[in-house]
Symmetry: C2
Subunit: 107 residues, 2 copies
């Protein structure tokens, strides 16, 4: 299965989360997997793409700004966000975007 | 140095390029590096973040939609795009976005 998210026709919304980890895991992998699973059950979730190679980039796609706000306020996600600042991340940047157009290619 | 792009206050623009490679390199690494260097010299370029782990995600940041259009039409970039379809990518998706807000954290 393709790891490229199957998103609908634009407009829709993207959250680009770029991060640098601290050393050690501190149960990060476990929580990251839990967040991937949990995000996928949220209203308005459209898909997610993720890769880490020095820097980590996770892009999640949503049908509205309200869906993004709700996910940010999710109780379990708030726990993860707090732990992220305290333990897991050296630095991060979150960018909330409106996807205006897209195109692709598949062999 | 941080590998998280230092972008100005929003609004600005992002191009999310998500891809799956074919097998073998076929001089991909060389061209990818050339494109990173070349993009950084283009008018309106603000920064770039990239990681590959199964899927590849490259996000480039720009100050306007016109800067994105110009980069897409860059002659050497057109060569890379054609070769990408012919040789390097199994599939890809390009999403052009307006970054509406951002926030971050640094230890």
């Amino acid at each position: 299965m393709s790891r490229i998210a199957k998103t609908p026709a634009p407009p829709y919304y993207a959250v680009i989360f770029t991060s640098e980890r601290t050393d050690g895991d501190q149960r990060y992998a476990e929580m990251a997997e839990e967040m991937v699973q949990l995000a996928a059950t949220q209203p308005g979730f459209l898909g997610m793409e993720s890769a880490r190679e020095g820097v980590g980039i996770t892009v999640s796609y949503w049908d509205s700004p309200e869906a993004i706000r709700q996910w940010k306020r999710n109780e379990r996600h708030l726990v993860a966000q707090r732990q992220g600042i305290e333990e897991w991340y050296q630095s991060y940047k979150t960018r909330v975007c409106k996807v205006e157009r897209d195109y692709g290619f598949e062999k």
